[in-house]
C-alpha cells in the first residue's frame, strides 16, 4: 500500500514537472502572465491608488476581496482553536500553590482556604512550575518595546516598502508571545487578557468589512475605497490610499490577536493556567 502511494506521488510529481516544461521561460517579459493584467498593475497602480508598492496595491485594492477573506481565514482559525481547545469554567477541586517571592518558599493552600487573587509577595504557580531566568526576562523587557514599534512601522509603511498588515501583525503578535514565554502565561494574561484578545480578533476583521461596507453607504460598490473621498474631503485616488491603510490596520489587529490567542490556547492546552 505504501509503495502504491509512493508511486502515485511520483506519478503526480512527474506530471507536474512534465507539464511545467512547456511553461514560458523564467522571467520572460513576453510570457502571458506578464502581458495580460500585470502591465495594468505596473503602469497604473500609482496613478490609480497613489501607492508606490505595487504588491500592496494589488493585495489590498485590486484584489482586496481576496485579502478580506484571507483575513477571515485567520479569524476562522482563531475561532476554531477557541472552539475546539478552550476549556471554559474554573476547576475548584484542586488546591492552589503559591510561591513566596522574597524567600522562594512554596505554600500549598487546600480547598476552602482563603486565597488572595493577587499579591505583591506571592505568585500563583502550577505543579510544572520552573524558575525563570533573570537574563531572559530582562532581555525580553528590552526587546519587546522595540519589536512592537517595528511592527507598527511595518504596518504603516506597507504602502512604500515590503510590509503591511499580515507581516506587521505577526511581529506584533510575536512580541506578546515573547513576553509570555519569558515570563509565564498568567503574567501575560494579566497584561493582555483573553477578553482583549477576543475583542481584537473580531475588531480587526470588522474594521476591514466596515471599511468596505462604508463604500456601500456612500453609493459605490463594496470595497470601492474611492467613495471615501466624500467624508474625508480628499481626492478619489488619495482616498484609495487611505482605504488601503484602514484595511491594513484591520488585518494587523486580527493577525496579532489570533496569533496571541492561538499561543494562549496551545501553550496551556486550553486551560489558560501557567502554560509553557
Amino acid at each position: 500500500m505504501k509503495t502504491a502511494a509512493a508511486l502515485l506521488v511520483l506519478l503526480f510529481g512527474g506530471l507536474l514537472v512534465y507539464a511545467s516544461l512547456e511553461f514560458p521561460a523564467w522571467g520572460d517579459p513576453m510570457a502571458p502572465a506578464s502581458r495580460h493584467v500585470s502591465p495594468h498593475y505596473i503602469e497604473r497602480s500609482l496613478a490609480e491608488t497613489s501607492v508606490p508598492n505595487i504588491v500592496t496595491a494589488v493585495l489590498a485594492d485590486y484584489r482586496g476581496y481576496d485579502t478580506m477573506f484571507e483575513t477571515i481565514v485567520i479569524f476562522t482559525a482563531g475561532v476554531a482553536c477557541l472552539f475546539l481547545l478552550r476549556i471554559f469554567g474554573r476547576r475548584s477541586s484542586e488546591s492552589r500553590l503559591y510561591r513566596h517571592l522574597p524567600t522562594g518558599i512554596t505554600l500549598r493552600i487546600s480547598r476552602g482556604g482563603a486565597v488572595p487573587l493577587s499579591s505583591k509577595e506571592f505568585e500563583r504557580i502550577d505543579l510544572q512550575w520552573v524558575p525563570y531566568s533573570v537574563v531572559v526576562r530582562t532581555t525580553c523587557r528590552l526587546i519587546v518595546p522595540f519589536s512592537q514599534l517595528f511592527a507598527l512601522y511595518v504596518i504603516a509603511h506597507g504602502h512604500h516598502s515590503p510590509g503591511g498588515g499580515f507581516q506587521g501583525g505577526v511581529i506584533l503578535g510575536a512580541s506578546i508571545i515573547l513576553f509570555a514565554i519569558a515570563n509565564n502565561l498568567r503574567a501575560s494574561l494579566a497584561w493582555f487578557s483573553e477578553k482583549l484578545a477576543v475583542l481584537l480578533c473580531g475588531l480587526g476583521v470588522s474594521i476591514y468589512v466596515a471599511t468596505g461596507a462604508l463604500s456601500f453607504l456612500l453609493g459605490g460598490n463594496f470595497l470601492d475605497y474611492g467613495t471615501l473621498s466624500k467624508p474625508f474631503a480628499m481626492g478619489a485616488v488619495a482616498a484609495r490610499s487611505l482605504g488601503i491603510l484602514m484595511v491594513e490596520i484591520g488585518v494587523g489587529i486580527t493577525v496579532m490577536a489570533v496569533m496571541v490567542h492561538l499561543y494562549y490556547g496551545l501553550a496551556s492546552a486550553g486551560r489558560h493556567d501557567e502554560g509553557l
Partner: protein, 501 residues
Amino acid sequence: MTSQLPAFIILLPLTAAFGAFFAGWWFRKAVYPLVVGVLGLCVLLAGGILHAVFDHGSLRYFLGGWPPPVGIELHVDSLGAFMLTLVSSLSLLAAIYAKPSVETELADRVALFWSLYLLLTTGMLGILITGDVFNLFVLLEVASLSGYALVGIGRGQALLASFRYLIIGTIGASFYLIGIGYLYAVTGSLNMVDLGRLLPPLYGTRAVQAAFIFILTGFAIKIALFPLHAWQPDAYTYAPSGISVLIASAMAKTSLYALIRLLFAVFTVDFITVYRPLFNFLGWMAALSMIAGSIFAIRQRNFKRMLAYSSVANVGYIVLAIALVPATLQGLAPALVHILNHAVIKACMFMAAGAFIYRFDRWDIGEFTGLGRRMPWTSFALLLAILAMIGMPPSAGFVTKWYLVLAIIEAKQYPMVAAVFFSTLLMIVYFWRVVEIIYVRPERSPVPTAVRVEEVPLSMRVPCVALGIATFAIGPVWMAGILTPVVTAVNTAFGLGGQAP
C-alpha cells in the same frame, strides 16, 4: 438596489458571524435569534437574486469598482442563483434543526458554534457567487476550515475524523490551487469568463491538460468520489447532527457546483469534446463509485456511516450525469435534478439519524426497533426519504433515475444503465433493512404494553418532516416543468444541450 444584491448575500452572514462571536462574550441570548434571522434573510435575498437573474440575465458585480480581469468580480448566473437558493434554504433548515442538540451538547460554546456555522455558510455562498478562480479557492478555505472545526467538536472519534478530513481536504484544495496556478502561468488571468476566452488556443498544451487533471482530481477529493472518499464516512458519522446535515447536503453540493463551473465555464464544452476519453474515464469512475459506495453501505451497522457511503454512491450518479453531458442533448439537466434531489433527501435522512441519536442515543441500525411507534413523525419522514431515494414514482429519486437513464441511452453507453439498476438494487437492500427494523421488527427488551410517543422537540421535527414531504413534492415539480426554465438557462449559459427536459 438589485445591483448590490450579490454583495449583500455575502456580507449578511459574514457580519452576523462576527455578531454571534461578540454576542457570545457579552450578550449570549441574542445569538440564536440573530443566526436564524440572518439565514432567513439570506433565503429571501437568494430568492431575489434568482428573480433578478431571470429578469435581467446574469448579475456581474465589480468589487472595489475594478472591472475584471484587473479586479475580482462576483458573477451570478442561473446555475449560481439556483444553488444559492438551495444552499441558503438548507442552511436555514439545518440551523433550526440543530438548536436543541447544540444547546445540550455544547453548553458553553454555543456562540462559537454559531459563529463558525455562519462562516461555513458564508464560504459556501461565496463559492456559489464568485467569478474568479482564485477567490473560489479562498472561499473554499473559509468553508473547509470552519467545516473541520465543526466536525471536530462531535462525539466519539470526531477529532480524529476531523484531522483526516483536514489533511485530505487540504490536499484536494492544494490540487485545485496547483491547477489554477498552471492556468495562470499560461494565460495570465484568474477571471472565469476571461479564462474561458483565453484558453481555446491553448487546449493542446501540456500545462492546460495538467491543470485540468489537477482541478478534476482536487474536486474529486472534495466531493468524495470513490476511491478518493476516505475522509468522508468518518467525518459525516462523528460530526454533530446539525453539521452532518449541512455538510452532507449543502457542502457536498457546493463542491459539485464548483466542479461544474470550472468544467463548463472555464474549460467549456469544446475542451471536453476534444478530450472525450478523459470524460469517459470520469464516467467509469462514477459508475464504480455508485456500486462500490452501495456495497460499502450494505456492510455498515452504524446508520450515519451507512448514509455517508450512500452519499459516495449518489455523488457517482451526479458525476455520471456530468460525464454524459457532451453526449446528450439534455445537457446538465440530469446532474441538476440529482443535485437538488439528493440534497433534500440526504438532509432529511441525516436529520432523522440525528433525531434518533438525540432522543435515544441510538446509532446502530440494529437498535432502531420500535422507533416507528415511539417517534412516528420522524420515522415517517425517514420512510418518505428512503422511498424517494430508492426511486418510487412520483418521488424525487424516480425523476433522477428517469433523466439519467434517458441520458445514458441517448449517449449509447448501455453498460451504465446496468450500473444504475444494480446500484438501485443494492440501495433497496440496505435501505429496506432500515425500514423493516424501524416498522416491523419487535423490540427485544420487555415491551411495555402501551408504547409512549417520545418525539424530538418541534424545532427538530418540523424541518425533518418538511424535507420528508419535499422529497415527494419535488418529483411532480420537476415533471410539471416548473424548474425547466432554470435548466434551460443553465444549458444555454454553458452552450450545452439542445432541448429542455
